[in-house]
Subunit: 202 residues, 2 copies
Amino acid sequence: MTEKRQEKRQELRTRLIEAARDRIAAGGLRGLRARDVTADAGCALGGLYTAFADLNELVIHVNSDTLRRLGEAVAEASAGIEEPGTKLKAMALAYLAFARTHNALWLALFDTTMLADVEIPQWHKDDQAGLIDGIARTLAAISPDMDEDARQRRARTLFAAVHGIVSISLEKRFIGLSGDHLEGELESFVDLVARAPTPLNR
Amino acid sequence: MTEKRQEKRQELRTRLIEAARDRIAAGGLRGLRARDVTADAGCALGGLYTAFADLNELVIHVNSDTLRRLGEAVAEASAGIEEPGTKLKAMALAYLAFARTHNALWLALFDTTMLADVEIPQWHKDDQAGLIDGIARTLAAISPDMDEDARQRRARTLFAAVHGIVSISLEKRFIGLSGDHLEGELESFVDLVARAPTPLNR
DNA sequence: AAATGATTTGAACAACGTTCATTATCTGCT
DNA sequence: AGCAGATAATGAACGTTGTTCAAATCATTT
C-alpha cells in the first residue's frame, strides 16, 4: 500500500494551500508567513518544504485556485445570457465584483515582486487561457466573420483593458475612476470595444 | 549657518534615492537591500533611517522620480503633434516604450506588496494627476463639447485601459498580446476609445 | 518483531530591516 | 580660536524572516 503515502502527502498539500489562501485573504500576500501557514495546516515548519519546493510554489497553487474561482464566478454571472454584448458586460462586472470581494487573493494573482524569477508552470497558464477563451467565444457571436487570430487578439485586448480599469481603480495608491461611476464606465467601455469593427483601426 | 546641515542632509537623500533607483533598475524592487543602497550611497546602514523613515519611504521617492521621468517621456514623444488622435497614440506608444525600457522601475510604480500599508503623500498623487491631465487636455481637442467631469473620467478610463494592455502584455507570467502586434493593437485601441462618442454608452 | 526505507520534525543558519547607545561632527557663544 | 551643547552618523546588536538538514518518527516489508 503505497497509496496511503500519496494520500497523506496530497492531504498535506491541500491543507497547506487552504491555510495559505486564508492567510493571504486575511492579511495580503505581504503578510504570508511560512510559520503561520504551517501552524494553521498542523504541520512542522519544515513540512512545507516536503510538500512544496518553496513558499513561492505554494503561492502559485493558491493563485491557480483563485484563477479557477475567478473563472467560475465570471462564467456563472454570464451564464444563460444570449445577447453577446450584455454577456460581455456581465463578465466584466463579475470580474470587478470578484476583484472587490476577494481583493487580496486577486491582487496576489498579479503580484510581480514575490514571483519575479519563478517559472510559471504550464497548467497555470492553461487556467488563464480558459478565461480568455470564454471572451473569445462570446466575441464570435458578435463578429462571426472575424478570423480566429483577430478574435484571440481582441479578446486579450478587451481582457487586459478591463483588467487595467479595475486594477487602477481599486488601487488606493493610484488615482483611478471613483467607485460610484466605476460600474457604469466599465459597462459602456466594454460595449464600445466589443462592438468595434474588424479590424479596429482605419 | 544652519544651511550646511540642510545641504548635507539633502545631499545624502538624493544620493540614497539615486542608489536605490539604480539598484531597482538592475535587480528589481525585490532585490533592493538596505545594506546595498547605503553602501552605494557611501553612508552607514543606519544613515538611511536618518534620511528617511523607512525603506518604503525611500522607494516612494524613487517612484515619484520615475513618475516624473515617465511624464516627461510621454510629453516629449507627443510634443508638437497637433492632430489629437495621433497625439494620443504617440502618448500610448511612449508609455509602452518606457515600460519596456525601464521595466523594473515602471513595475515598482504599481507594486502593491511592498507598499501595502503605507499612506502615499499628496505630492506623489499630484505627479500622477499631471499624467492624466495631459490626456484630458488632448481629449478636449477631439470632443470640445464634453464637460469637464466626463473628460476626466474618459481620460482615466483611457489611461487605465492602456496601462492594462501594456501591463498584461509585458508580464511574462500572464498571457497577453504577443510582442509583435502589441504596438499596432495599442494604436488602434487608442483610436477607438479616443474617438468614441460622448457619452460612451447607448 | 525486527529491519529498512521514507517522511516528518524543529533547532540551527544566514540574511533581512530596523534600532539605539556610542562616537563624531557641526553650530553658536564667549 | 576654543568650548559647550546640540545634532547627525555609525555599526554592532536585535528580532524576524525563509530555508536547510541531522535526528527522530512513522510506515512497510521480511
